[in-house]
Amino acid sequence: MTLARRGHEYPEQHVRVYPCPADISKLYHKPSGPIEDVWPSTQLTYLGTYLQQLGCKTVIIEEHYIDRDYIYDVTLYYARSLRAYPNYCQRIHFFSEAFDDAAWRRILTEAAAGGEGLRAATATLQHGYLGFTVVRPLAGFPIGRTVLKTVGATTKETWRREFTCVRDYTVHLAGYELHVSGLAFQQQDRGVSACATTALWSALHHVSPIERLPAVTPAEITEAASRYSLNANGRSLPSEGLNIQQVCEAIRAAGLAPLVIQRSDPVEDKAQLLGYSRSGFASVLAVGPVSGATHAVCTVGLKVGSVQPATNPPMHFLDAATAVRGLYIHDDRLGPYASVELFDKTVAIEGAKPPQPTFRLRTGMKIRWPDGTYEADEWMLHAVIVPVPVKLRLTIARIRSLGYGIAEATGLAFAGVMPPVQLDCRYRLATDYRASAFGFRLSDAGLYQLTCETVLSRYVGAVEISSGGAALFDVLLDTTENVAHRALLACVRREGLPDTAIPVMRTFAKGLETVAIV
């Protein structure tokens, strides 16, 4: 007699091609035992609906795939379970072109000719490539790292979709190198990660490579979050969710700085969402009903309509933040790029009695479910947590508080002369800003001054003043400072500023005690 043979074999690899099923959940196994929620899960229904929207026609399944995030989960948690969880996953690739196994083999043969053949085969696959999802061997929580393309440029209301927090992912499939632009999403597994873990993991996926920091896994986030502060139940695993302080600890451990912003009035909330999203910083949002449990999601993009006129109090400029109509979020109860509409919600102020105001406006959120319905309860924004580079200290709020005065002064100076003046505030990478300066219509001396004689922080804060869609001038701020009026670097002429208006900008620069670059 001999012992059972264990640990000698390697897992098998197969790459198979199938038509994309109308019901994507057919590819997945129903978990055994009583179903806790619904089957197919909301996440699988959402994934199927989203793939239909992208026009998915073919799937390619890699039966063996090592996923870095999952293998860390195994190391931290699943390796010590009684059930023998494998340390590998499967991966499904999605394509908008219809092809079968024979066509797939033909493409491989063509690529074997090398040179032009390989380039042509890669181009064929890349043309219809929609992205991938990792299938974890976790019953009920199979959706691992998932990167999918974003949907089209406009909504049915003709609002502009701005997916400002996506990046390029390189994907290797059977020797081909493919690319997909998106932001990684994954479902919480309720073992290693909860909603805050996966939301933060997605947010870090965008900023970490820009800052040349290593990508952290959900397991590393959970460990870092609970290093100094445990959950209410006294243990870090299984994860029952994180509080905001723990999220901040995990951000610090990832080599970044946490920026926590409390909800304010709807315009200011939108300004924060606009400012950080347009600067490429994905945020973790704390959202939920007025009171009770709070959920975490990650912002990926914005829905932007037209800018609203100034109302209360009447100002002489428009605020770009009023154009924000909604968001795209990674919500692990749903999936990637879930659609959110923002609205002004009136809520009672606890304990307030007339003549004091008894109500105030808050930012309401309607999150759309796969069947097109919205959350039963209307939710609200409670807080925004942004992982930012450590040296970035000047907040969007402080940039705006300075920008308000500049926009108002410009609006007063140009009233009746130009279309309404508009204020927008964001961060720009200094290298990108200098590169874009060639299109600013600067004089030779001005261009030289900006590109060769002006010091800029790695990220500059930009107060952007425009009129009728044309940029007039930018006020640049040093973001390594934390007080806006001490951080002025330069006032830079933009392509939309008429020559006759240059003296106005020069004078404002003088009033702000900074240099004018024209």
Partner: protein, 63 residues
């Protein structure tokens, strides 16, 4: 100051208007603008006030 400059604007062409305000008037305009936005500039910073309750807010999935 601003009333006078508004009258001047009405009678001038676009190019003229941009040169009609002298440096002193523009600096005064900048100061006036700062006063106009005082309240909203203060409101912009409201979100930076962080409480202990907020930091202890637990984030967990439900539905």
């Amino acid at each position: 100051m601003t009333g006078g400059s508004k009258d001047a604007r009405a009678a001038k062409t676009k190019e003229d208007v941009l040169t009609v305000l002298d440096e002193g008037q523009l600096l005064a305009l900048l100061e006036q603008a700062r006063q106009n936005v005082k309240e909203i500039a203060k409101r912009a910073l409201e979100g930076e006030v962080i409480t202990g309750d907020l930091l202890n807010m637990r984030l967990r999935s439900f539905r």
